[in-house]
């Protein structure tokens, strides 16, 4: 396994506001990493630093290169979709294919045509004539036809309806992702991607508050539905969070053994969304 992204002491300030407070993380090859955090937590700043779109302090290497100085070379191996709306309205589909073919050494035109053939997008259409979902399909077709080692997605499905959102991630998984590549994705709709992810990074106020593989998360965090009689016992084990569900208490534990918890009630793996809420509330 090789490391695609490595950040050490990555920091960024906008005036007096510290958007990133010296964060460390790695993205290994063959992983799908979810970068999750509330608005303004620093997600987009991290992505921009990786893509060479902003200055930063600290060490950051992407595919062994420095994104501030070697942006141009990095972009031959890195693709990104920032938002569904970024394809310009005047661009014709056929021209988009022609342009990317000519400027991108790792673009496979046949593949792009194959992907577009599965949609209702006409080659003569301009982007402004397409629906939002179709623009996303077009963008995805272009990006999946690039032999990239790293794909960065920043809220790629924002504003799309549910059918397109599901299809978007399904296609990525079946047609693009393999052990040679990695995907780094940020989204507000965590439920949609939690089954895709292999790694999870939570970020809050410019700090990383969780950085683990999904396996570690499932082993480490356990949710227990506790009946009324066992509440005192459960509270004694220092739950990370508790919530009420239909008159019963659900506790989230970190690092407590299954044997200890089994006697309290039914065990579940927490959803990423619940874990996220817990982590964002922690210490507040």
């Amino acid at each position: 396994m090789s490391t695609l992204i490595e950040a050490k002491g990555l920091s960024k300030s906008y005036g007096s506001h510290q958007a990133l407070k010296s964060v460390d993380f790695k993205v290994e090859r063959g992983r799908i990493v979810g970068l999750v955090g509330p608005n303004g937590a620093g997600k987009t700043t991290i992505l921009k630093a990786i893509l060479g779109l902003t200055s930063y302090e600290g060490d950051l290497t992407v595919l062994g290169m420095n994104p501030e100085r070697q942006r141009h070379q990095i972009m031959q191996k890195v693709s990104f979709i920032a938002d569904v709306a970024v394809l310009p309205g005047w661009l014709k589909v056929a021209n988009a294919l022609e342009f990317v073919t000519e400027v991108h050494p790792n673009f496979n035109l046949e593949r792009a045509k194959y992907f577009l053939g599965k949609t209702n997008i006409s080659m003569d259409a301009k982007v402004k004539q397409l629906s939002k979902g179709m623009v996303a399909q077009l963008h995805l077709a272009l990006v999946m036809s690039i032999e990239a080692e790293l794909l960065v997605l920043d809220e790629p499905t924002l504003g799309l309806d549910i059918l397109y959102r599901k299809e978007f991630y399904n296609q990525l998984l079946t047609e693009f992702f393999d052990e040679g590549r990695s995907i780094l994705v940020t989204t507000h709709q965590i439920e949609e991607i939690e089954n895709l992810l292999t790694d999870l990074i939570f970020i809050r106020d410019g700090n990383i508050v969780l950085n683990a593989t999904m396996d570690e998360v499932t082993n480490d965090y356990i949710e227990v539905m506790v009946s009324k009689d066992n509440i005192a016992q459960a509270e004694a084990l220092n739950p990370v969070m508790s919530r009420d569900v239909f008159g019963r208490k659900v506790y989230l534990f970190q690092g407590v053994s299954r044997e200890q918890l089994e006697v309290l009630g039914e065990l579940h793996s927490p959803s990423v969304a619940d874990l996220f809420v817990a982590k964002m509330k922690e210490g507040k």
């Binding site: 972009m75 310009p88 021209n95 990317v100 000519e102 990006v143």
Partner: protein, 306 residues
């Protein structure tokens, strides 16, 4: 190199309306007016003798045309060929101005800059492709449209000659068409290159502007002029800018100036395109342009809008 060509092509796709369709439509409308005007002309022309029939006058007119000296005829035909360049040149300069102001601003406004930046194209190549588009691609397209219109004028003249009972061969032999085309092409390109410092400045303003790129491009010019007048009681800066713009137009139309007897423009301001190439002002302009372009490249590369 391939990718640079693709970048210039992209500029054409995005601005096809102003770069190609505008002059093409103007040419088509002019041609239509001329054709319709000729066909229906006899019903409009009235003199104090009463209504006259234009068609009846053709043989007389053509005979007169055939009888004038070769030199005068060449002059008359070439003037009519060069004349459209005044109009098309003016339209082109306006198009270039708005092209430059939008060149690095529109992509930020519609957020497509993030798509362009997701491709392995450097900011230097992108900005230079836009500069090459304004200094070469736009004038060459305008030249081509004007060339087509010039050929139309000759065909039109030939057909008139036919109605007047002549073969119209001298319309072509006196036209020096290839010389006219050659001079047109270089006049268009050299005139836009002469204005390069202005284009580069507008591109820099376009990269810099947060809103209303037009104001960012034009207001500083006036502010510098006002500041100079206030502090030094002089107006060198605005005179320099004015002269630059004026010389752009005179360079574009110098052929016309020399044909009509050198009284179209002030003698001091007019030179043939190859003479302009030999002037230090031309090359200093390109150096100034390089400075503004460097600013535009730097701004596009390191601007962080979040």
């Amino acid at each position: 190199m391939n990718s640079f060509k693709a970048l210039v092509k992209r500029e054409y796709w995005e601005n096809r309306g102003s770069i190609f369709l505008s002059p093409a439509i103007i040419a088509a409308v002019l041609a239509a007016i001329m054709i319709l005007g000729t066909i229906t002309g006899d019903t409009f022309v009235e003199t104090h003798h009463g209504e006259i029939n234009l068609w009846d006058k053709f043989p007389q007119a053509v005979e007169e045309f055939n009888n004038i000296e070769e030199e005068k005829r060449t002059q008359a035909i070439q003037i009519s060929l060069y004349a459209p360049r005044i109009l098309f040149g003016f339209v082109m300069m306006l198009i270039c101005l708005f092209y430059c102001l939008g060149s690095l601003y529109d992509e930020r406004k519609d957020k497509s800059i993030l798509f362009w930046k997701s491709l392995p194209v450097s900011d230097t190549a992108t900005v230079l492709s836009k500069f090459v588009s304004v200094c070469f691609m736009i004038p060459i397209v305008y030249f081509a449209v004007v060339a087509a219109f010039q050929v139309f004028l000759l065909v039109y003249g030939t057909v008139l000659a036919w109605f007047g009972g002549s073969l119209g061969v001298n319309v072509w032999t006196s036209s020096n068409l290839f010389g006219v085309l050659f001079n047109s092409l270089f006049s268009f390109v050299v005139a836009t290159l002469w204005l390069a410092p202005l284009w580069a400045w507008f591109m820099f303003a376009s990269a810099w502007a947060k809103k209303v790129a037009f104001l960012w491009g034009t207001l500083p010019i006036f502010m510098v002029a006002i500041a100079e007048g206030w502090i030094f009681r002089s107006s060198h800066f605005i005179e320099m800018v004015g002269e630059r713009v004026a010389r752009g137009f005179t360079t574009l139309n110098s052929d016309m100036h020399f044909l009509v007897g050198k009284d179209m423009f002030d003698e001091h301001y007019v030179a043939k395109w190859y003479e302009v190439l030999g002037e230090s002002g031309f090359w200093i302009g390109l150096i100034v342009a390089a400075g503004f372009l460097a600013g535009a490249i730097y701004t596009r590369r390191y601007r962080d809008e979040s």
